[in-house]
């Protein structure tokens, strides 16, 4: 009987369990869960603060998920070290667990720059885990002045989640725009205006230089007073387990399309990994939930002796703030097609007869048709792109493609 060990208990781990069980009903699965919760929907922590979900509904899988899949879960335990020669993983307290196949699904951790005086701040939080959200829920009152460092996806979702709970919210970022990892300058300005109308304040091109109790002294010299500080500057993949046993790591744990690491019988999946971005061909960390799930599932199948390849990962995000949704995918490289109205902004980027990327704000109908063009690298000359760029429709595909898509023909 094969012994599977999964280091981590997030989405990638759940995918991995399902992948293993799609082929191997009997092998022993041990899950090492640093968090004391069954797998939950981590991107929902801001929705929790907003009151749009609750602890029960946030569960990613049903209550009997581990039992049904025959998993032993070790809650509150931390994997520290891999002995690759004896094929064991060591936990806190010295426990050693032998494995035949190991999957590292260790996620990422908040990156906190070394701010001077940060230790003088009493009420400071990250915004990554359910426990972070539960602590913030306790800390923030209607009178709280909240300062959020970092105007990325995490910082802004936190701002949205807290707006109705807090007195006021200020978000600062060293970058010149919000959501700088997914939006270009104009799209960011479009979204920023919407957020400002809802009551969030921004200090861009500026960030905290140091802290003194409840005061942030900004690089510009300005002083921002706050009651609650949220640090959401960025995250870093947790690579130490694999790096510690000599495996290949870069920013993330380097994996191939089968989710194999450079060490035999060790796989990795989810936010801790780095793999090819099919929209550019370059390796990068694609820390998004869909990838975690698909990578985990792929890893699981291969761990159980099957053959599965996941080689068309692309960066993509769907993120909404107060009813306005931004969808992005691929890379913003090439010729620009733009449509703009009072309430929407659409940008498509084409190059070498391919759709390379897009940004859609407030106009997201059937956006997956665009996403699939990027993922499948569909030559634009094979479809009616003039029709398609105006509205996402499969009617722009040739009849034979449509017959395969909708008529059941292969």
């Amino acid at each position: 009987m094969t012994k599977y060990v999964i280091a981590g208990n997030g989405i990638a781990a759940a995918g991995c369990i399902e992948g293993i069980r799609s082929r191997d009903k009997d092998g022993e699965i041990t899950v090492i869960s640093e968090e004391k919760h069954p797998v939950y929907c981590r991107p929902l922590i801001s929705y929790y603060l907003e009151g749009k979900t609750d602890l029960q509904r946030m569960a990613y899988r049903s209550g009997d998920f581990y039992e049904k899949n025959g998993c032993r879960v070790l809650y509150g335990r931390k994997a520290l070290k891999i002995e690759k020669d004896s094929k064991e993983i060591e936990l806190d307290g010295g426990t050693r667990i032998p494995y035949d196949r190991l999957c590292i699904a260790a996620g990422s951790a908040p990156f906190v720059p070394p701010f001077a005086g940060l230790e003088t701040v009493e009420s400071k939080y990250s915004f990554m885990t359910l426990d972070d959200a539960l602590e913030l829920e306790q800390a923030v009152t209607k009178e709280s002045r909240v300062l959020i460092i970092g105007a990325g996806l995490i910082g802004l979702k936190c701002a949205e989640g807290l707006l109705d709970r807090a007195g006021n919210i200020t978000v600062c970022d060293l970058a010149d725009r919000i959501l700088s990892s997914i939006l270009d300058t104009e799209c960011a300005a479009f979204m920023q205006k919407h957020l400002e109308e809802k009551g969030i304040r921004f200090c861009l091109n500026d960030s905290a230089a140091s802290f003194d109790g409840n005061r942030a002294i900004m690089k510009s010299g300005a002083v921002v007073e706050f009651d609650v500080l949220v640090l959401s500057v960025g995250v870093r993949p947790n690579i130490s387990l694999l790096a510690g046993c000599g495996g290949q790591t870069n920013r993330g744990i380097v994996v191939d399309g089968r989710m194999r690491t450079s060490v035999p019988d060790i796989f990795a999946a989810g936010d801790c990994t780095e793999g090819p971005d099919a929209s550019t061909g370059e390796n990068r960390v694609l820390a998004i939930l869909p990838n975690a799930c698909m990578q985990g599932f792929t890893a699981g199948i291969n761990m159980a002796g099957g053959e599965s390849l996941f080689d068309n990962a692309i960066p993509m995000n769907s993120i909404g703030f107060f009813g306005m949704h931004a969808m992005t995918a691929g890379s913003y490289d090439g010729e620009l097609y733009e449509e703009r109205t009072e309430t929407s902004l659409k940008r498509l980027f084409t190059k070498d007869d391919l759709l390379k990327g897009f940004i859609l704000i407030g106009c997201n109908e059937r956006a997956g048709i665009y996403t699939s063009l990027i993922r499948e690298k569909t030559p634009l000359s094979s479809i009616d792109f003039d029709m398609l760029k105006k509205a996402a429709t499969t009617a722009a595909f040739p009849p034979e493609s449509r017959r395969k898509m909708f008529g059941g023909e292969r």
Binding site: P43, C293, I369, D384, A395
Partner: protein
């Protein structure tokens, strides 16, 4: 398994399927009460291109990107049918971002909805199929996989 297929050469572009779908999932027994003067939220939609039209609804893919991408664990596949748990959906629209067919859209409350083959209402055979005047939409086994 049985799926809804469309023969685009037979589609008249009449949009009746959209009305029948919205009615079937309204929970009401009177079509006029269910639809008259209200915005329509069908789970099937008619695509119209140059000289063609056809209806599109969920393909119930073997490898469903929407299920694997759902950040709320609200989409799942049971007995071949992709279902949405509307209590869990938080309207993040990730499923819209990934579905290559454009088969998911927000319903009246803003929560996502999709074709569930009329298995969760009392219509029996899918309403779009029953009501298609030219038999362009059919519900049958074609032994294929998407």
């Amino acid at each position: 398994m049985k799926r809804v297929y469309v023969n685009e050469e037979w589609c008249l572009g009449c949009h009746l399927c959209e009305y029948n779908c919205a009615f079937a999932n309204s929970g009401l027994s009177d079509m006029v009460l269910a639809l008259k003067g209200k915005p329509l939220y069908p789970r099937i939609h008619v695509e119209e291109g140059r000289k063609i039209s056809y209806a599109v609804s969920c393909r119930h893919c073997d490898d469903p990107l929407c299920v694997k991408s759902c950040i709320a664990g609200a989409l799942s596949k049971k007995d071949g049918v992709i279902q949405i748990d509307k209590d869990k959906c938080v309207s993040c629209y990730t499923c819209i971002l990934v579905c290559p067919y454009g088969a998911l859209s927000p319903g009246e409350t803003g929560v996502m909805q999709k074709c569930e083959l009329c298995l969760t209402n009392s219509f029996g055979e899918p309403a779009c199929v029953q009501g298609c005047p030219n038999r362009a939409i059919v519900y049958e086994e074609r032994g294929d996989t998407v």
